[in-house]
């Protein structure tokens, strides 16, 4: 592979990871649940693109496999599973009131992204030179921003997507430093993501039916001090 092609591939990988970071910010701050889902699908496509580009750069079959797995499971199967298990109302929800208002949440996200860079760059420096690249810092940033999404959002779909975004972030870091993980493991992780969607979908449907709202992050009745009147419990 010539030097200019190599440079181009590296630049495209850097672009893919940069846009990945942007989608992670978007998942934290988008009001509409459907917008969140679209951003998550874009994030998975960017992850697949980065995997493919790294596979091109290092001639690794595993990474091509990762790219294929990501292209099939997340943009296609996750929305399908959501439609099957969870009510259609999930798609039209938007956050009316947030835990934190959006500019504050975005500023915290920014601070976390900068912190992720400070954590990630020494980690890559400790590895041999062929592992260097933007994947690890941005992967850690994706991890942190997914965790932030779980903290600041109340609606069910953004919370689920925050969980999956965390895994995307961990995976983005992983494809550049853990390239030789066998395909079995990658397939298992992908299937695991689907099981998460399935179970959470079933749970959200149960919450919708029995509690009457999908703002699951706002459920906070289990506390210590208030001895609320207990209903007759059916064991």
């Amino acid at each position: 592979m010539s030097a200019t092609t190599r440079q181009l591939v590296e630049n495209l990988n850097a672009l893919a990871t940069g846009l990945f970071l942007l989608t992670a910010f978007g998942i934290v701050g988008t009001r509409q649940a459907r917008g969140c889902l679209q951003l998550f699908i874009a994030q998975s496509l960017l992850l697949a693109a980065s995997a493919g580009l790294l596979g091109l750069q290092f001639h690794s079959q595993h990474l091509y496999g990762v790219m294929l797995v990501n292209l099939i499971t997340k943009p296609v199967i996750v929305p399908w599973l959501l439609r099957r298990t969870a009510p259609v109302e999930i798609y039209t929800r938007r956050e009316i009131d947030q835990v934190l208002n959006i500019p504050t949440a975005l500023s915290i996200a920014l601070a976390l992204a900068i912190g992720a860079y400070f954590l990630g760059v020494p980690l890559t420096q400790a590895l041999p030179p062929e592992y260097h690249g933007p994947n690890v810092p941005i992967g850690i940033a994706g991890l942190f921003l997914g965790a932030l999404t779980l903290t600041v959002r109340r609606e069910a779909l953004p919370l689920l997507l925050g969980l999956l975004a965390m895994e995307n972030g961990a995976f983005l870091a992983g494809i550049s430093i853990a390239r030789d993980l066998t395909m079995l493991v990658e397939l298992a992780i992908a299937t695991d993501g689907l099981i998460i969607v399935f179970i959470v979908g079933v749970l959200v449907r149960a919450v919708e039916q029995h509690v009457g709202t999908t703002a699951v992050g706002a459920l906070a009745s289990l506390k210590e001090a208030a001895p609320h009147a207990e209903r007759e419990v059916t064991p």
């Binding site: 440079q7 630049n11 672009l15 940069g18 910010f25 975005l106 690249g133």
Partner: protein
């Protein structure tokens, strides 16, 4: 050297002459996208001509600010046009008089006076529009700063000519993540500063919803013509900064003779019109944001620009 002064003045004349054309093309394209015919692209020229020939009415209760502001709003973009690359890729005579931050401050000065003038009259809509414009302005300031900081960090200088030579001219940098993110941030900034949808509706007539337009409600005749022209020039100047420094620095005059510079004029206009097309598509597909959501819009622009800065400054 005299050639360079001459090119500089030519640059200013180009900006002055073609700014209304850009405005006319924008309105025409927007109407065409909406399946209407729209006014002629030269209509802004006719409007300016008409306004220059009308009487001016000035309120008794206004002060010298009200009378001076149209001239300040007109001159500021002219100054900025002296500083930025419009036609040439090499620095001209006045290029080192001020850098991008200086250009930003000059435009901010014009905005400051416009806001003051809006408050100067007793019109109730004036101060309302002024305060809203200030809100958008101060939220957009950090984005400007971070964008300029990032590009200067790469180029090692804040003069736009030097930045332009170092930033995207090595074509491999076009796909660098910081470049793409900066483009996104700057597009959001142009939408905010230029008063386009989704921040503000430039063709709206409902005063309670106006942000930029209500500052010029009290003006008439020559003052109004100068303010309109100044606003169009400011938009053109912003577009020039975006296109010639950040996005497509190619197509500017490389050689130092008149023919090359004159050739650059249609090329620059072509770039501007292509971008205006993109802008029109964006404007026609979005709805105007509610006022408090402009904060989120500019917050997103800020986050994008800081992400670009992180990708540039901290990345290996």
């Amino acid at each position: 050297m005299s050639g360079r002064i001459g090119f500089n003045l030519l640059q200013v004349l180009v900006v002055m002459a073609f700014a209304p054309l850009v405005s006319g093309v924008t309105s025409r394209l927007k109407e065409m996208v909406q399946s209407k015919r729209g006014p002629s692209v030269f209509q802004p020229y006719r409007d300016l001509w008409k306004l220059f020939h009308k009487d001016e009415i000035v309120s008794h209760d206004s002060s010298w600010i009200f009378r001076f502001t149209p001239y300040i709003v007109f001159i500021a973009p002219v100054f900025v046009a002296l500083l930025i690359p419009v036609l040439t890729s090499y620095p001209l005579f006045f290029a080192f008089m001020g850098d991008m931050l200086g250009a930003g401050f000059v435009l901010a000065l014009a905005g400051f006076f416009a806001a003051l003038a809006a408050v100067d009259t007793a019109n109730p809509y004036g101060p309302m529009g002024a305060s809203r414009t200030r809100m958008v302005g101060f939220l957009a300031e950090p984005v400007f700063m971070i964008v300029f900081f990032t590009v200067s960090f790469v180029a090692g200088s804040t003069i736009p000519y030097i930045v332009q030579q170092k930033w995207v001219t090595p074509a491999a940098n076009f796909f660098a993540p910081s470049h793409v993110l900066l483009l996104l941030a700057f597009i959001l900034l142009i939408l905010a500063e230029g008063g386009r949808i989704p921040v503000d509706n430039p063709t709206g007539h409902f005063e309670l919803a106006m942000i930029d337009e209500s500052k010029s409600l009290e003006y008439s005749g020559q003052g109004f013509a100068l303010i309109k022209w100044g606003g169009q020039m400011k938009f053109f100047v912003l577009l020039c900064v975006f296109l010639n420094v950040l996005l497509i620095p190619w197509g500017l005059a490389q050689r130092q003779d008149l023919a090359a510079v004159l050739l650059a004029v249609p090329l620059v206009l072509l770039k501007v019109f292509c971008f205006v097309l993109v802008l029109v598509v964006i404007e026609s597909s979005l709805a105007k944001l509610r006022l408090f959501r402009i904060v989120e819009f500019l917050g997103a622009a800020f986050v994008t620009s800081v992400a670009a800065m992180i990708a540039q400054v901290f990345a290996a």
